[in-house]
Symmetry: D2
Subunit: 360 residues, 4 copies
């Protein structure tokens, strides 16, 4: 049974949201001239609203942020030539909302494509340890079929006494591996003071613990490169979308959402992978959605079956940890595949990609 008790509480709260940022969207006619669109935007801004312009291949939408309680939606539609129709939306998130932007967002990183129709595999070690380690892994996962190389340079660790990553040296090793293999690279940023360090990193990752580090979200919203945003351990699907909204509304629409398991009462696994979230995120948003079977389970023998499930449920890719010697990994060895296991996984996924009609 759904828990229906607090309807009144929630609605009241909803009204409270309503006060602060609203939910009206106008879908423009296909042939609306740019000039008139600009004029339309300016007219709203002069009335004190913020606007989001969302341009898709099918339709272009204008979303109003502000108190629209007094706005007569029908009147606007009738009196504005370029407007096809308008509607109020019930969600807090607008720029990432599929209602506002119907087309799937497709992201390009070098030759690699991420989004609907593709199943993009990101792989590499939890932590970059040495030139030899990252090179061996990078060449191997590339040969197996991975399209993007991951590697942690700055590691968020529960204990101050645990290995904290190779830091800037780690980023340099990663860039070297990119030069050698041609693989685009992704690594986790810890805070906005590191932005300059990530200049040559192709995709900037926001870790689960930083999902609601709003200053960092705003900062990467100013970048011209994709952001991989991981769901927080205890964050709802809606909160993840709101965090993506921070980035997109700040100007960067290249956000990849990543389900990586949530914290539940179950202790046999590190986290509980929430595959319903993958489906709902793709229904409610136009952004690409991938999942991370390594952190979701924390157990090597679960990575392969979970990866297959992630593909079958409709995700746009996976991020999976690999290591050339998991038993000696400085971090997360218990959940890392060795290079042969990763190769086998990729062979399996390639066969499955056909039935899914996806490019892997």
């Amino acid at each position: 049974m759904f828990r229906a008790a607090e309807v009144v509480e929630i609605i009241r709260n909803d009204i409270y949201f309503e006060k602060q940022g609203d939910r009206m969207v106008f879908i423009l006619k296909p042939d609306a001239p740019k000039e008139q669109i600009d004029q339309f935007l300016v007219s709203w801004e002069q009335k004190g609203f913020s606007t989001i312009l969302s341009v898709g291949t099918e339709h272009t939408a204008v979303c109003l942020i502000g108190n629209t309680a007094e706005v007569d939606l029908d009147h606007i539609v009738e009196t504005t030539d370029i407007v096809s129709y308008g509607k109020r939306i019930t969600e807090q998130y607008k720029a990432v909302n599929r209602v506002v932007h119907e087309d799937d967002t497709i992201i390009h990183v070098g030759d690699v494509t991420i989004g609907e129709g593709f199943f993009t595999v990101i792989s590499g070690p939890c932590s970059v340890e040495s030139n030899e380690q990252i090179l061996e892994i990078a060449f191997s996962v590339k040969n197996s079929g991975a399209k993007i190389l991951r590697g942690g340079a700055f590691k968020p660790r529960t204990s101050p006494y645990a290995f904290q990553g190779r830091q800037e040296d780690g980023l340099e090793m990663l860039r070297m591996a990119k030069r050698e293999t041609g693989l685009p690279i992704v690594s986790e940023i810890m805070n906005q003071t590191q932005l300059n360090l990530f200049e040559d990193i192709d995709i900037v990752q926001i870790g689960a613990r930083n999902m609601q580090n709003f200053d960092l979200l705003r900062a990467v919203g100013g970048l011209k490169k994709p952001v991989l945003l991981k769901r927080g351990l205890a964050n709802t699907i809606e909160e993840l979308l709101m965090s993506a909204e921070y980035i997109v509304s700040a100007g960067n629409s290249e956000v990849i959402l990543c389900e990586r398991g949530i914290r539940s009462f179950e202790t046999m696994t590190r986290n509980t992978l929430d595959l319903s979230a993958v489906v709902l995120l793709k229904q409610k948003s136009h952004l690409p959605v991938i999942a991370d079977p390594s952190h979701a389970s924390g157990i090597r023998s679960l990575v392969q079956p979970l990866s297959k499930a992630i593909m079958a449920v409709g995700a746009d890719g996976i991020m999976v940890e690999t290591h050339n010697n998991p038993a000696k990994a400085l971090c997360d060895g218990a959940q890392s595949l060795d290079l042969e296991q990763f190769h086998d996984l990729m062979e399996d996924l390639k066969k499955r990609a056909e039935i899914e009609e996806k490019v892997i």
Copy 2:
């Protein structure tokens, strides 16, 4: 990071378990004569132990329940002809433990097979409503490929004022549908006083709220028919195995485990489907494991993608709610597929069964 704090607490607790029921298993030689096995069992029972005899195609095992702290395992192995080797096991569950019983348990219900190598689809309405309803659904899901018909007669409802099911009439409608279609039937039992009502029901279902109704578990442990045991909303994988242990140790080894979503903080779905549990249950136990995408999500549009993921992760089947008119269903309409959607799902799953090398 795993939560490692309470190691001492848990170990202390573990020792406490140790006192009450222990963990020693002897694997017998393939050719051990039945007579000597019986003698071996009797000898332990005379010393005050309970025993579990587990006969598999590969090996036969004898498990001791009791304080084995003083038992010299090596000495027993050396001095007992029929014993191949012995070991202590770390888990609480014994009879359902794959260590004790290596072969997959395969369950037969009429012509239907449930277990490794098969993907068995159970389908039908949340609640049996009328002869017309159950017949229409039963014929349709059979034609689409379902092998077993489900239908609730006694419904556990949060509210005393909600529809409580057709009760005994519902069971009769279900039996009628079986006679007409030939499909084996499964329905939920609420308590052990109903056992006689379920005589002609092929599979008895224990619902999530009854997973730790230990008297009921013991009671169905006395049946000669399969039991479908659903995981509780807030029960761990280990607790599910312990509940299965109640049934198997009471004499009924035909238990089908069912993952149906756990309660987490996420509110956008009814529950959170835990697919890692499916893999772990199959690793740790020899029992068949299926999953229920309908209750796990509570949302119709999630049932198809989750079903595909359940197959890909390695489950032995699904239980999925269908209705000839979901909008008018007396119960759980929002999560029920209509008959055409179910047909489409089955067509999709049949294609996928090939790649999984499973009989569907």
Copy 3:
């Protein structure tokens, strides 16, 4: 931030509830003659509604169960002499709702009172082990100030190999302890077939795992004695109230609610005590509310501070496990106070009862 996303989902669901059991209550005038009240009830039942008559010292209320969508509330109020006013209520629970029954329910067990204005301490061992054990504990906790003796005879255990309680012998030991000490007794019932065994038990306890064993709830709804209903490990406050509604709507209004900790991600304690639930239950319902610090924490050294917090937050009592030799207890020794610790706790609570203006 509250999670406001699924408002529409919940409201839709709410409407669905609305269809099946409704929410209209009429408050009667203080001097309404019994005859006219009966006539009023009959008139509704003839129209197909069920009714709940709730008699309080301040007002008497009639609650309608059924589809009241078409009922013209104002018209009824205007045209029915004995009706003072009417209202629709938003909650699913009616008979236990404070809106329907404003006065606090006060329960009497022998000389003992449970409810607002009192802080009733229930104590005793997790499990009744022997005549000597239960007698020693009973006399000691009585001298320290406990008003009711608890003792488990049938124990719900995760493992089939763990001690399952002294069963019927345990109940007899408990009755003996009552005869010797004069303390009323409470013990947990496992299923409705045991009802006759509990005839001389003063208060019947429904354990956490049985909170949604609806047949059992209905069965104890037919008793003429108090029921102690514990919150399930993963059940919401509203679900607890709905389970109480099963009992009260079946005719037994003497229900004591018990918060005993919920299952969360935290593993350092056995459960997470939810003291907000105590306050909300008392706000929303007229039933007495107690809490169980022993099961809520699982750790002896937490029992005293949590007991003080439970009193301070406004609960009507506690249920606390004690043992004459916790180190050798057959069950839950780690969370049981020894008799001296319990004595100290009672001395402390007695001082605090003054500031709370409660009778202890």
Copy 4:
């Protein structure tokens, strides 16, 4: 029942921790000369260990960080004059561990004391809105008995379109309120680039979402002022202690821990207050522990009863949100007390402080 399954998993993991940061502590003799202590520290550092020197009134301890597997503890004790005894500790946290530092840490902020023996009340608005607002609230809560003024200047909000706080102006309003009332002030820092803005703020608050922002923790570890560290929504007690360890091991031992509710499945409250955590934190650590009833519940009518429970359970204070006009608050109005309600709460708490033998 505790969940005992993953003992082996956890122990293995524990060994892994062991490799990276260890757990040996030497308690020094009371009269150990500073010179010899320094020499002792240097000798370990030369062998590659990090050391923590913890000076208490009762004893002084030296904690080793590094691989102590090969260290012969008994030999060290026997051959080092200034060492009284040594032990290995099982916890990850060392500098905040009561084993290493037996005395309660007492923190002084101006004339205000925080720690064992005191119950310090921190109050003020969720968000500083204007000079008038903060002044009215500050004078009022001071008169009622609050000792420290809280006020949010930078607000972490789920939605980018919600009010984000008065930012630097808010800090200035807060400083003004301090000048006028003499109350020390506490406000939340969002990231380490803001450190200079917080120079005149007496206590720097780390919010729940930043509890594992490890760079920020290290940064405030370099401050010479108290840090108020709130528990994350889904963080365990041990993780909170590990985050405190980041700060203390970086040189700042003035950390105040704050329980503020965790995220559970219950939706009727904003979070679930975990009072067991308060007791356990005080048992395991020497740091002061307060709790926040406002965020823990999200409901005004729960703040008073929860505050009383927080005092009764043994916390060293509360942080409670107040507003001169909650209905018009820009943030969290639903959980804020008005000034009269706060006054009443304080009168109640003052009476209770006597029985607790605490200075309020």
